[in-house]
């Protein structure tokens, strides 16, 4: 059990090393001749206008909220899915009822027009 997490820990520590090494090689062999024109933001080929970090559409925020509801729901449902052998039919139906309550939330968001992209 502990070995499983040891493997994951070592993997997560070592996985970034390979791409980082791939970025290190160009540092050694690639030419470096920066000049102000070259370092300009490319964007779409012409000079950029104004500030880049603009305010974004509130619609993204609403979708993030709907996502949060469902993500928390699935975290609760995974233990239910694993323990299926120990559960009687009644407990399974209770799980289904839990899903239906969240479906009611989805229907509400749908009716309110929160799922329309404006």
């Amino acid at each position: 059990m502990l070995n499983d997490w040891l493997f994951i820990g070592v993997f997560l520590l070592l996985a970034p090393v390979f791409p980082a090494a791939a970025l290190l090689i160009p540092r050694l062999i690639a030419p470096r001749k920066p000049n102000p024109l070259k370092m300009q933001t490319y964007e779409c080929g012409i000079e950029t206008v104004g500030n880049t970090w603009v305010q974004f559409h509130v619609q993204y925020y609403i979708f993030a909220l709907v996502f949060l509801i469902f993500d928390v729901e699935t975290v609760f449902l995974f233990p239910w899915a694993i323990a299926f052998d120990q559960l009687p039919l009644f407990a399974v139906l209770e799980g289904v009822l839990f899903i239906l309550i969240v479906v009611a939330g989805l229907v509400y968001a749908w009716r309110k027009g929160a799922l329309e992209w404006k």
């Binding site: 070995n3 499983d4 040891l6 493997f7 994951i8 070592v10 993997f11 997560l12 070592l14 996985a15 970034p16 390979f18 791409p19 980082a20 791939a22 970025l23 090689i25 160009p26 062999i29 690639a30 030419p31 470096r32 001749k33 102000p36 070259k38 370092m39 300009q40 933001t41 490319y42 964007e43 779409c44 950029t48 880049t52 970090w53 603009v54 974004f56 559409h57 993204y60 979708f63 993030a64 709907v66 996502f67 469902f70 993500d71 699935t74 449902l77 995974f78 899915a81 694993i82 299926f84 559960l87 399974v92 799980g95 289904v96 899903i99 969240v102 989805l106 749908w110 799922l115 992209w117």
Partner: protein
């Protein structure tokens, strides 16, 4: 005859213990060696994938693809890599330097890290994590973070728009993906991928075809490939999040996308196509590697087939398709699977699988009926004469004067 990988591991373990090292240190050394070997093999495979992708695209578009360097153009990806390595690395003025440089590393590293829980054969697997499915979802979400970081740090409006679209898309398609993942978890009673593969006497695509389809679609969206490649729609926002990246940093994004596509094929085949299972794979685990990669590459080919067949969809269509179609369908599939699992006999696997398959076919039929009636009402709505389309009527000339004026 034990299989060679386990044989080498045991030999190395005995050798190290023979040198007088402690048990814990030997485990650590073996783990590090295992990780380095697995990651190196994956990155070599990644180089090969560049060639596979270009060759298959060429065939879909009735071309030959790379065929000059080496047999069938096999040396071509190495030439590409050398070119990427000696390119000058440009960081644009105003970019957030640290975030800008970390983003491509995260994009590739997370994809490699996904392979830690995939069972490549009966005996060769990183680890059988008891929350393996959740690990895949979590690490997959971090690869999205790499894209968002790249778009945010580039100091470029189009890249930022691409990053915003990525957020909306990944966040939305995460929901049906996680829900459809729960179906094989219910069938196998475990979240460990090795347990899920061990339990697949019948491939789960037979018992849960709808969940498999939802999982595939939402994973293509997570990957950001056509028809869901709004994040890098070149006709609208130039190249999306990686406009400003040059040289090897761009190469890492590209490699990360290709390896992610293969990884999704591998996860799909582990969950629904029986993973390493195939003729002779249980007696000789080494054959399982062949079956595993055969299925993974087949699913990779399916993903490429989809990519080069469908046009890109709009962002409102993308979100409607997810929230108004895939998510309800995934929830219904989960509920039907959960209830039927209790009603069907668990010991009799053929009957169980057949019952699940029939239930899935009923779901598909009902879904098609609902879609058909929805499409009919949509056609009626579009067919009606629109009020704005009629020419403006001249105001009717009234002969009677208003009551107030006569008096």
């Amino acid at each position: 005859m034990d299989d060679p990988v386990i044989f080498i591991a045991n030999w190395l373990k005995n050798l190290l213990i023979g040198w007088g090292l402690s048990q814990g240190l030997v485990t650590l050394i073996l783990t590090v060696i295992g990780v380095v070997v697995l990651a190196s093999v994956l990155l070599l495979l990644d180089v090969f994938l560049v060639w596979v992708e270009r060759k298959v695209v060429a065939r879909f578009q009735d071309r030959f693809g790379p065929n000059r360097l080496g047999p069938f153009g096999l040396i071509q990806p190495f030439a590409d890599i050398i070119k990427l390595l000696i390119k000058e690395d440009i960081t644009p003025i105003g970019a957030d330097k640290i975030v800008y440089n970390i983003a491509p590393i995260i994009a590739l590293a997370t994809v490699v890290a996904l392979w830690g829980v995939l069972p490549i054969s009966a005996t060769i697997y990183g680890t059988n994590l008891n929350v393996g499915v959740l690990y895949i979802v979590a690490i997959g979400a971090i690869s999205t973070l790499g894209i968002i970081m790249a778009g945010w740090a580039s100091n470029n409006k189009y890249a930022l728009i691409g990053a915003f679209r990525t957020v909306a898309q990944m966040v939305s398609y995460e929901v049906p993906m996680v829900i459809s993942l729960m179906v094989p978890v219910i069938l196998a009673r475990s979240m460990g991928l090795k347990d899920i593969v061990d339990n697949q006497i019948f491939w789960y695509i037979l018992a849960a075809p709808v969940a498999a389809l939802i999982f595939l679609i939402s994973n293509i969206a997570e990957l950001g490939r056509a028809p869901f490649d709004l994040t890098e729609a070149e006709s609208e926002i130039v190249a999306g999040f990686h406009i400003e990246y040059t040289g090897m940093k761009f190469g890492l994004f590209y490699a990360g996308e290709l390896l992610h596509a293969l990884t999704i094929g591998a996860i799909f085949s582990s969950l629904f196509l029986g993973g390493w299972r195939g003729p002779g794979a249980e007696a000789f685990p080494i054959i399982g590697i062949f079956w595993f990669f055969l299925k993974a590459f087949f699913m990779y080919w399916v993903i490429m087939w989809i990519k080069y067949t469908f046009p890109r969809i709009r962002i409102d269509q993308m979100l409607n398709f997810n929230w108004k179609f895939l998510t309800p369908l995934a929830l219904v599939t989960l509920m039907v699977t959960a209830i039927l699992d209790k009603l069907l006999p668990h010991q009799n696997l053929p009957i169980y699988t057949l019952g699940m398959l029939l239930a899935n076919l009923v779901i598909v039929w009902v879904t098609l009926q609902i879609l058909r009636s929805g499409a009919r009402s949509e056609r009626m709505r579009v067919g009606e004469p629109k009020p704005v389309a009629t020419p403006p009527q001249p105001a009717p000339v009234t002969s009677q004067s208003t009551p107030g004026a006569t008096q």
